[in-house]
């Protein structure tokens, strides 16, 4: 009995040492912290037409994970941005959308549990208008649309794994599509449903060292 405990203790020490070794092998271990970003507008409604149809500018909002900031539209043709939002559509700086090394895939699971991007993961790139790295459509990508209440709800347990324009990695979880990060009630007023929509709240973790671990 005592022997068994001893050997377990030894085993634990050895394995801990092993883990420690592998860790010290990688040169720069930056602690990656999750950052929460609130109310990123994504082509919000600016008015109503004479027929009562909502009017928007039809423009993307570009975002850089490295800078943790919105990138001006004038830089849309650059590699300064990683992802961009327009209504429910999210594009990556890849394929038909941009000149960067971007890409993405949707991971089903928990944000915190995704510590390493699985080696067999396939990053998709944008191929407008038929397919996007972040799949469009209700229930297919990151959100669900309820046709009865007209409410968009981010799907729980979805992590968007992004390859940035410069080929680094980030993970993000969208928590709300409405201003203030609120959850709209089915009975919310039409005005609220119209004007509070198209504001993203999400958290993300960006790994600047180019590895696939967070």
């Amino acid at each position: 009995m005592k022997k068994t405990i001893q050997s377990i203790v030894i085993l634990v020490i050895i394995s801990t040492g092993f883990v420690a070794c592998t860790k010290s092998d990688s040169t720069t271990v930056m602690p990656v912290t999750a950052v929460t970003v609130k109310d990123i507008p994504a082509d919000t409604v600016v008015g109503l037409s004479a027929q009562g149809i909502p009017i928007t500018n039809g423009k993307y909002t570009f975002y850089s994970f490295e800078k943790n900031a919105i990138v001006p539209n004038t830089d849309s043709a650059s590699t300064k941005w990683d992802i961009a939002f327009m209504a429910t559509k999210i594009i990556t700086n890849s394929g038909t959308s941009g000149t960067g090394l971007g890409g993405a895939f949707i991971y089903t699971g928990l944000f915190d549990a995704l510590t390493t991007i699985p080696t067999d993961s396939v990053f998709k790139t944008d191929n407008a208008p038929t397919s996007y790295a972040i799949t469009t459509g209700s229930g297919k990508g990151w959100y669900n649309y309820d046709g009865l209440t007209n409410i968009i709800t981010p799907l729980a347990g979805r992590v968007l794994v992004i390859r940035t324009a410069s080929g680094k990695y980030a993970k993000m979880e969208i928590t709300s599509y409405y201003k203030g990060g609120v959850t709209l009630s089915a009975t919310a007023s039409d005005a609220d449903k119209l004007n509070k929509q198209r504001y993203y709240t999400f958290r993300f973790a960006y790994q600047p060292n180019g590895t696939k671990t967070f």
Binding site: L110, G137, N144, N150, G157, T175, T187
Partner: protein, 694 residues
């Protein structure tokens, strides 16, 4: 006269089955005749399945005008809103309960819901509610149970006129009369109901209940051709005109529409009944019904909106009741249904979609001991458009003692796919351009759209589309009834329903524009289970208290499997995802766990009565807000509530009576989730029997 009445009322079979309770007990009178449970007249004391009987007196004293009003006060039933007022029975949606008038089905459902406000109650003798799959006798739709509305069929009713007026300019006028002579029975009933509707949503011109004017005409004639043969003709017409002023929300923007809606419902039946001898009788029945709903609206932008639904249903049927010997009763029958629907929501409103169903059924009732009844039945429905269905059922009644009974039943029910699920061809231009196509043509229509380059993506589900199969349920009911004295009644009932092959709307693809395309697939598996308790106690000669409670659990079996497999997520207080625990799963939407009611009735000797009714419904999930496709504790719920109702009145010796009441005394409203519950309403009724015999 008497003899003829007996022929109509009590079958020879029923007379022989008198072994049961003869006592005139509290509210469950053992001698009350029930027709729905066995498709043949039986005494309540010998019924083997769970049944609730609501008699005319209760309907009248509750101040109920429409079928909805009285059903919502019954144990185990919930009213739903959306596409009219439907009834949910033991947790199963309105689609799964068949609604009969004198044994003949009503048609004209919208999205599976039959609007029970269509049915006036002024000439109703009683309502029989059978819980549990009853397809072995009634075929499709009798999956959760059967609600049979029975009008007077034998007794004289002195000509009576009643007038009622109440809140929201609700007006109701009725004329009712029945004459029974030696060879003729006639009943005539006329009703006019109108309401100015109401809006419980602040700052909205859209009324939840729109202004309605409804006529109901009901005529019945029975004529005795010979001593043993009679012919019966029934006619029922309802005609309702609805003034619409509705708001449709389009991408958050509101469009007003005004116009008229005109709905008519015609029911005609002709029966020929013959009795060969004391133990054998047969009945030929033909039934025709036609429901027509027409909506003609003008939107504020001048674009007209026209919607038509026409449902025609014709049936020929024969049923024979044979009392083989003292222990064995047999019923058997066969029939054929021709059904057709045309609608603007199908590919062409001019072309009627048809379906023919042929069926045969039999039921054996075996009474081996005085204390034991065993019933076995089976029905076969052969359907032209869908798979055929076998519906077996077994039930038993054990009379443990004079005071105690045990009932057990197990049966299979089914619901054939409806016309909408096969033929719908609907694109909602107002709400983002999504489309729903019925399975009969989804692949063809989508194929055409695809060749026009309009289809963006097709999902796996598109390739799984095929001819729909009926939905099935297996139901089990076990109940114990206890009557310790003539003044007390107690019953406990356990139930479980397992449903498979559920037909659900599924997205099968998307247009190039991204708008969704839906169709129907047999995909779901679900269950409902629970307990029903009922207690009735006569406190004194004038006070009676009755109460009921239902505990209900529901669930989607596939979702539960997913949750158990750790594949379903929900969100925590920060909005971050976490795994959903099974204990946080709440089951099917619009189902509340607890429902309770308490009723106190007071009767005085000189014709005065008063009652007080309290109904409670616990919270129910209404909207999925936390990003999974299951309903859990983190979703949006409608609040539980209590509604209080009272009514009092007096019947005078000279044929005059009055009644006044108040519904929803505490003025509880929830415009979003309970659009059918207006705020506090008052009403007053006067009634006069013109040829009243003292």
């Amino acid at each position: 006269m008497k003899k003829w009445l007996i022929f109509i009322l009590i079958s020879p079979v029923g007379l022989l089955a008198q072994a049961g309770l003869k006592r005139d007990s509290l509210l469950m009178q053992g001698d009350t005749v029930v027709v729905t449970a066995n498709r043949s007249e039986r005494k309540l004391g010998n019924i083997t399945v769970p049944i609730t009987i609501v008699n005319a007196k209760l309907i009248q004293q509750s101040g109920s005008l429409r079928l909805t009003d009285i059903l919502k006060e019954q144990p185990g039933l919930n009213m739903t809103s959306g596409f009219g007022a439907g009834v949910q029975l033991q947790g199963l949606n309105p689609d799964y309960t068949i609604i009969l008038i004198n044994g003949e089905p009503l048609v004209g459902r919208t999205a599976g819901v039959l609007d029970l406000n269509r049915i006036a109650l002024g000439n109703i003798k009683k309502i029989e509610i059978v819980k549990g799959p009853s397809s072995s006798l009634y075929g499709s739709e009798a999956m959760a149970g059967v609600i049979n509305i029975i009008t007077e069929s034998d007794a004289n009713i002195p000509l009576q006129a009643s007038l009622r007026y109440g809140t929201y300019e609700t007006f109701d006028a009725s004329l009712n009369n029945a004459i029974a002579t030696k060879s003729v029975f006639y009943q005539g009933f006329y009703n006019y109901y109108s309401t100015n509707g109401y809006s419980i949503r602040p700052n909205s011109n859209s009324r939840v209940t729109t202004p309605i004017g409804r006529y109901t005409l009901n005529q019945q004639l029975k004529y005795k051709l010979t001593e043993n043969t009679n012919i019966a003709i029934g006619l029922r017409l309802t005609d309702e005109k609805v003034t619409n002023d509705i708001s449709v929300s389009n991408g958050g923007n509101t469009i007003n529409s005004t116009g008229k809606e005109h709905n008519t419902d015609q029911n005609i039946n002709v029966y020929l009944n013959h009795r060969f001898n004391n133990s054998l009788k047969t009945s030929f029945r033909t039934y025709y019904t036609n429901y027509n709903a027409k909506q003609d609206l003008n939107t504020i932008s001048g674009v007209p909106y026209y919607d038509l639904l026409n449902h025609l249903f014709k049936r020929v049927e024969n049923q024979t009741d044979w009392n083989v010997n003292k222990q064995v009763n047999l019923i058997f029958g066969a029939g054929s249904v021709w059904e057709g629907v045309k609608s603007t929501r199908y590919d062409s409103e001019k072309v009627r979609k048809n379906n023919i169903t042929q069926y045969a059924f039999t039921q054996v009732e075996w009474n081996p001991l005085q204390k034991l009844i065993l019933i076995g039945g089976i029905r076969y429905d052969k359907n032209e458009s869908f798979a055929s269905a076998f519906s077996p059922k077994l039930s038993t009644l054990i009379k443990i003692s004079q005071q105690q009974k045990i009932k057990f039943s197990i049966g299979q029910g089914f619901k054939a796919p409806d016309f909408r699920q096969m033929y719908l061809d609907f694109t909602n231009a107002a709400a983002g351009g999504y489309s729903v196509f019925g399975t009969a043509q989804a692949q063809q229509v989508i194929g055409q759209l695809s060749s026009l380059g309009q289809i963006g993506t097709l999902y796996d589900s598109y390739y799984q589309l095929k001819t729909l199969k009926p939905e099935y349920s297996t139901g089990m009911h076990l109940s114990w009834e206890y009557e310790p004295s003539l003044n007390s009644f107690l019953s406990v009932q356990l139930f479980r329903n397992d449903i498979s092959n559920l037909i659900q709307v599924q997205q099968v693809g998307a247009y190039v524009s991204g708008a969704q395309i839906f169709s129907y697939l047999n995909v779901g598996r679900a269950f409902t289970q629970g307990i029903e308790l009922e207690i009735k106690q006569k406190l004194s000669s004038s006070f009676t208290v009755s109460s009921a409670y239902q505990y209900l659990e529901t669930g989607d079996k596939d979702q539960i499997a997913q949750i158990k497999a750790g594949k379903v997520y929900t969100r925590d207080a920060n909005g971050y995802s976490k795994l959903l625990a099974l204990s946080d799963y709440v089951g099917l939407p619009n189902n509340n766990k607890h429902k309770a009611q308490l009723k106190i009735n007071y009767y005085a000797k000189h014709g005065f009565f008063a009652n007080f009714r309290m109904l409670y419904r616990s919270a129910w999930a209404v909207n999925n807000t936390n990003g999974n496709e299951v309903y859990d504790k983190g979703d949006e719920f409608a609040k539980g509530y209590i509604s209080l109702h009272t009514s009092l009145g007096k019947d005078y010796q000279n044929g005059f009576s009055w009644q006044a009441g108040c519904d929803n005394i505490s003025n509880y409203i929830d415009p979003a989730n309970l659009p059918n519950l207006p705020g506090r309403t008052f009403y007053a009724t006067i009634k006069y029997q013109i040829f009243h015999k003292q």
